[in-house]
Amino acid sequence: MDLAIPKIDIGSLGPELILSIAAIFILMFTVFLPKDKKDPSAYMGLLGIIFAFVSTIFLWGNSRYAFNDMILVDNFGLFFNIIFLISAGMSILMSINYMKEEEMDHGEFYALILFATVGMMFMAVGTNLITVFLGLETMSISIYILAGFLRERNRSNESALKYLLLGAFSSAFLLYGIALIYGATGTTDLKGISEFLSKTTYLQDPMLLAGMGLLVVGFGFKIATVPFHMWTPDVYEGAPTSVTAFMSVGVKAAAFAAFVRIFSHSLWDLQPDWNQILWILSVITMTVGNIAAIAQTNIKRMLAYSSIAHAGYIMMGMVAANELGTSSILFYLLAYAFMNLGAFAVVIVFEKKEEENLLIDDYSGMGFKYPALALLMSVFLFSLAGIPPTAGFVGKFYIFSAAVKAGYIWLAIIGVMNSLVSVYYYLRVTVMMYMNEPKVELKGLSWSPSMVIALIIAVIGTLLIGIFPSPYLDLARQSVSLFM
């Protein structure tokens, strides 16, 4: 037989290739760098990200399938690429100094971040369940390692182990789901699936539905929806803070990318079925997330729960299942990237070695000792709480409007009531910062140029999107208009 080699469209893989190459370069060169002088590898990583960004921009607009329909390079995917690149770049910026302080600055760290990003990108652009699955695994495995990167740290180990065990557990379910869908539809190609579903007369095939359900489980785990969320607080707490930031934004976004693409695209005909489930999931997710967050004392844990809650909000966009809903998801994730990364950046700046200054109480009196830092923190927190004029507000506004537009008034009401609850615990931090006297003498902060840059990017993003959202909304809308 003859091997008909398909058309190899390298261009369409631009970002992924660039990142992988950058990562490999890092791996090669970091060896030659002297101990604790590993900064160049970080910069190499940043360089790679910038190039990847550029290539993403170049790919914008002309969407095309490539590699025998394994991937679809469309604005949807590219928009997510941008989010991944932002979060990766920011995490690297945050890490440089942080890892030094933790005495674990190794080139591999940055390489792994890049690998994870590549994985995410494949999740976003993949149009075959296999591509998506492999992307997801690439991402997850890199994240497992990053979570456990602080080898001497019990917490780090523990979080890595928990994440690994549960991650593998859940991806087994995901895999089962894929198998069932494969069985029911005879293909793993998203296009094929949707075609099959549009043709078929019998949508109540239990195998199909079960497969769909298990996919929900698999992605639900990654985006941390209740009841698949329990790993989140522990893993977020234990992982290196910069990695936590990366996870909370990148992983969530990637999972959502695949989730949305698969459900709003190939499984569209099952919409009435998954809509119910997602409605319930979204409600319990945000409720549990918000309520549980109130009792937290560790800021990383609190942010973990808040990220759970945000997953709940974002799912409202999927429940709405209309163009506005999907675009609002994209927009929200973009906004979320900036504000959440910003918040974690502040946490890092304030954090000390050996997990000091991670308790919310440690923030007391910070507001007038470090006005700038406190101000930034308040901006990010208010944005997370969804108070204008910040990105978070506009994001919530669109998510809720999508729900209302689709007629899910009650969902919207539950949503706003939840954000009321969330306000309470975000406020608690500002209360600590501005309204309490310092409990302990605050040590100096670990500023570093890279960190400053990261913070500036974050705050500008948060405010810019908050005040002049329309260009970004346009982007989001263009990104979804194609495949809806």
Partner: protein, 169 residues
């Protein structure tokens, strides 16, 4: 004939799988897992997926399980797991829910319709070219991209494994 093979292998598989989760000594568990893998390989053969069967033996029973055993030895865990029930309730409840899961999945498996459009690779045809060659053909044409992705995946994994376990970086 096949039926006999199937049922006998199936029983072996199930039993060995049960042993994996019931035996106290990690070593034994590992070994029974190996047995499970072998019997699975057997089933693959029955499903005339020889190539898969082969790598099942090589990769799983060979590489992966060896790795397991190696680690168990390394950390010399080959002692009986301390029987100290932290939360029996969790155990009981877990089993209950798991069996419910079995009900669900079983019913799906039993009642599931495989309306999926038939593919081109009928047993006969595959037999003609040979299972391995057929798979290879697909793997390096249609599935080349996933194949490449796995390379990154593995690279990441290797790097990670080293970073985490190497004594001195």
């Amino acid at each position: 004939m096949t039926a006999f093979f199937f049922f006998s292998i199936a029983t072996v598989t199930v039993i060995s799988a049960l042993l994996v989760i019931l035996l106290r000594n990690p070593i034994h568990c590992a070994l029974s897992l190996v047995l499970t893998f072998f019997s699975l390989a057997g089933l693959y053969v029955l499903l005339n997926a020889q190539f898969i069967a082969a790598i099942q033996v090589i990769v799983y029973a060979g590489a992966i399980m060896v790795l397991f055993l190696f680690v168990i030895m390394l950390l010399n865990l080959d002692k009986v797991e301390k029987v100290r029930e932290r939360h029996p309730l969790q155990k009981a409840f877990g089993i209950l829910v798991a069996s419910l899961l079995l009900v669900a999945l079983g019913s799906v498996a039993a009642t599931g319709f495989l309306y999926g459009s038939k593919g081109v690779h009928t047993a006969a045809e595959v037999g003609a070219i040979g299972n391995t060659k057929a798979i290879a053909g697909l793997l390096f044409t249609d599935w080349v991209l996933p194949f490449e992705i796995t390379s990154i995946l593995l690279l990441a994994a290797i790097v990670g494994a080293i970073v985490l376990s190497k004594r001195e970086l």
